[in-house]
């Protein structure tokens, strides 16, 4: 990541935190606000980090995936459904139900990844259209099943929305949780922690292993990879499936870690924003993470402002409405795509089906 983009990221995060500090400092000490903002940032950046990582795997192998949004949404639904089903109908304890839900979400994402791979690699469908198919399919299926399974009279829950088994508990990582301030920031729930771990793993895999070398080769110059006996299709298939599984984990965040409920369209564009994070992060795991944190901070701003709503002067009150302050991530995304904060280079064969 070049210095310009790094500075930009830092600057934006400081500004966003600064706003909340300014507003709330008369009630709460700045240090507390900063720690709270950072902790919220890391937490709410989770689906964006994972979404961007999903994009990194797909696009490093040469497949554009704008279906991440849909993969997240469908996984959020099926993960949640599995957890509730286990908990309510089969009588499992909440924690095992939730963990199984996470696994189901990952599998759902993987299957949608497989579908995307099938469309874009085998059938060479335009990858943006393929991704759109997945997005629409996810909206349709999750909306339909949500209504059919939970609200219809003849459904398994008898038309009663059952009690959710709660959300995944916070975990304390030995050593790190003992560090004074940092420990507080990284006292997170499991999916948030695993997102950070996955960033590190993805970095090592992509740049230091045989798998990564071949993945990048296939995304840069598939014919060259083909001529040294690498199976381009197979590499792309697996990377898109892995990408789908990571998007599935991101989906699990919504219904199993963040809130214990499902709502149609609840991913709310996070899948698309994570693509912007991936682009801004130059298709590298750490870059993507850093960019995801910016968006996370923007969202943390919205959440933390809620605590201080009484402190905001009335003439500025409209800014604090979710439909106004909520615009920040979207505008930020468009700003980033203009390339005024440094242009990044996609893998050369990104989006181009490979013809033997």
């Amino acid at each position: 990541m070049d210095i310009r983009r790094f500075l930009f990221i830092t600057l934006i995060i400081i500004i966003l935190i600064g706003v909340v500090v300014l507003v709330g400092s008369s009630q709460v000490s700045p240090a507390t606000i900063i720690v709270s903002m950072l902790a919220t940032t890391v937490a709410v950046a989770t689906p964006l980090t994972l979404g961007a990582l999903s994009g990194v795997f797909c696009e490093r192998s040469g497949v554009v995936n704008i279906g991440i949004e849909g993969m997240m949404l469908a996984s959020a639904f099926f993960g949640w459904f599995a957890a509730i089903y286990l908990n309510t109908i089969l009588g499992f304890q909440p924690l095992p139900s939730l963990l199984t839900g996470v696994v189901v979400a990952i599998i759902t994402g993987g299957l949608l990844g497989l579908l995307h791979a099938w469309l874009s690699i085998t059938f060479k469908v335009d990858q943006i259209i393929g991704g759109t198919v997945i997005n629409l399919l996810a909206v349709g299926i999750s909306g339909f099943l949500n209504r059919q399974l939970f609200f219809e009279k003849g459904s398994i829950f008898g038309g009663q929305v059952p009690h959710a088994p709660g959300v995944l508990p916070r975990i304390q990582i030995p050593l790190i949780s003992d560090i004074p301030v940092i420990g507080k920031i990284f006292e997170q729930q499991p999916i948030a922690i695993s997102a950070i771990v996955l960033v590190i793993i993805a970095h090592v895999v992509l740049f230091y292993t045989r798998w990564g070398l071949r993945t990048r080769a296939v995304g840069e110059h598939p014919r060259a990879a083909d001529t040294v006996g690498i199976n381009v299709y197979k590499m792309r298939y697996w990377n898109v499936i892995i990408g789908g599984m990571i998007a599935g984990l991101a989906g699990a965040y919504f219904t199993l870690e963040s809130v214990p409920s499902f709502e149609p369209l609840m991913t709310n564009g996070r899948g698309f924003i994570s693509l912007a994070a991936m682009i801004f992060g130059n298709w590298s795991p750490f870059g993507a993470w850093a960019a995801a944190l910016v968006f996370g901070a923007a969202q943390a701003l919205q959440i933390n402002l809620q605590f201080f709503r009484t402190l905001i002067p009335p003439q500025w009150a409209f800014l604090q409405q979710s439909s106004i302050v909520g615009l920040v991530p979207y505008i930020l995304t468009m700003l980033i795509l203009t390339g005024i904060i440094g242009r990044t280079t996609p893998p050369k064969a990104d989006g181009i089906p490979y013809e033997k």
Binding site: I66, F123, V125, L136, I141, E152, G269, F272, S322, L337
Partner: protein, 380 residues
């Protein structure tokens, strides 16, 4: 002389035959895609515990069962035609406008505002002949601006229109939500819904037949579709749009101002989507209500792809989608299968249209047409 006449007849006949043959082959794959989607959709319904046959019967009855339902189908199809044309025109220009949703919503809001507020602001009662066109125009312009911005960003900075139009959707929908809950909320003390006041009488289209909701917007939509077809294939501007879309490098080489053409295509596309919103307000609802237009912009993508981006095909596929949406309510009433299943079937239609290789494989059809190419990297 007679021989010549016969020759001419013969020539004419083969031309007709060729035309039918070519239209048939153009229609065949989309038709089979729709069929396949319904079959797979039926499986989904069955798996979720419903009876697909009664569901589809209900759907048919609801869509075409009576003059009333026919009228309702055209009501549904109208915004679909406009929005489908919006996406199709952008496709022809090599652009993927996922932003029809937001352009449509903003168009509706702008239109509604002019419709209810302008007479008051001017302090006079404008006659229909002025106010109605102004009201529609407001929506068209709002949509056009909302389309032009991502177009300009693409031409100027290379920022990919797919992500930008999606972002513009969220921005538009948030703005609309803010406006309808705040400054533009219907001040009637009984109103609890996020909606605008009703537009002035003189800003409205009249119904075509009394007792039916079918309105002039449907006729207008068909006329606009023909106009778009004419624009794309018979004018120099259309030539430029298609050239910039099919091969921007060659376009630049040939002296076409590709950047300007991109902005123009996106503006026209946004205007069409804005018109969809404006017509909903002026001809149907007489106001705009939050959440009313959700999903139109996304359905429009499927409609345009099903029509292979041909404006006249858009009419047909919009009617199909309108019929499904309209019939869906009846289906839900009769079979308790949620109307949301329509979204699943529509997504499946898109799937089989996009991956027509699957359909060709299932039905053993050879030959293939040109492929839509949109992915030209992120350029960011």
């Amino acid at each position: 002389m007679e021989a010549k006449q016969g020759q001419v007849n013969q020539k004419f006949k083969t031309r007709i035959q060729r035309w039918f043959a070519s239209s048939w082959s153009a229609l065949l794959v989309p038709l089979l895609a729709v069929l396949t989607a319904f079959v797979v959709g039926g499986i989904v319904i069955a798996m979720a515990g419903g009876n697909p046959f009664s569901a589809y019967l209900g759907l048919l009855e609801g869509a075409f069962g009576s003059t009333k339902s026919l009228s309702e189908t055209t009501v549904w199809a109208t915004p679909y035609i406009f929005a489908g044309l919006a996406v199709a025109l952008a496709f022809k220009g090599g652009l993927f406008n996922i932003g029809a949703e937001g352009q449509l919503a903003l168009g509706a809001v702008a239109s509604a505002w002019v419709g209810y507020a302008l007479p008051g602001l001017l302090g006079i009662n404008l006659p229909t002949i002025f106010l109605l066109p102004l009201t529609v125009l407001a929506g068209v312009i709002a949509g056009g601006i909302w389309g032009a911005i991502p177009g300009w960003l693409k031409a100027r900075t290379g920022g990919h229109e797919v992500i930008n139009t999606i972002m513009m959707n969220y921005i538009a929908l948030n703005m609309v939500s803010y406006l309808l809950n705040g400054p533009m909320k219907d001040p009637n003390p009984l109103n609890v819904i996020a909606r605008t006041p009703e537009i002035a009488e003189s800003a409205r289209f009249t119904p075509i037949f009394s007792g039916y909701r079918m309105h002039w917007g449907f006729i207008l939509a068909i006329l606009i579709a023909i106009l778009v077809w004419f624009l794309l294939w018979k004018t120099t501007l259309g030539f430029e749009i298609r050239t910039a879309g099919a091969n921007p490098d060659a376009g630049k080489y040939a002296g076409v101002n590709v950047g300007r053409t991109i902005v123009l295509s996106m503006t026209l596309s946004g205007m069409l989507a804005g018109m969809a919103g404006a017509i909903e307000v002026t001809a149907l609802n007489y106001r705009h209500e939050l959440g009313f237009s959700i999903g139109y912009g996304f359905d429009a993508i499927a409609i345009a792809l099903l029509a292979k981006s041909h404006p006249l095909g858009v009419i047909l596929s919009a009617i199909l989608f309108g019929a499904m949406r309209n019939g869906g309510t009846r289906m839900q009433f009769l079979t308790q299968i949620p109307v949301d299943v329509i979204s699943v079937i529509q997504a499946l239609i898109l799937l089989f249209v996009a991956a027509d290789a699957i359909v060709r494989f299932i039905f053993r059809i050879k030959a293939r047409e040109e492929r839509v190419v949109l992915t030209r990297g992120w350029g960011g």
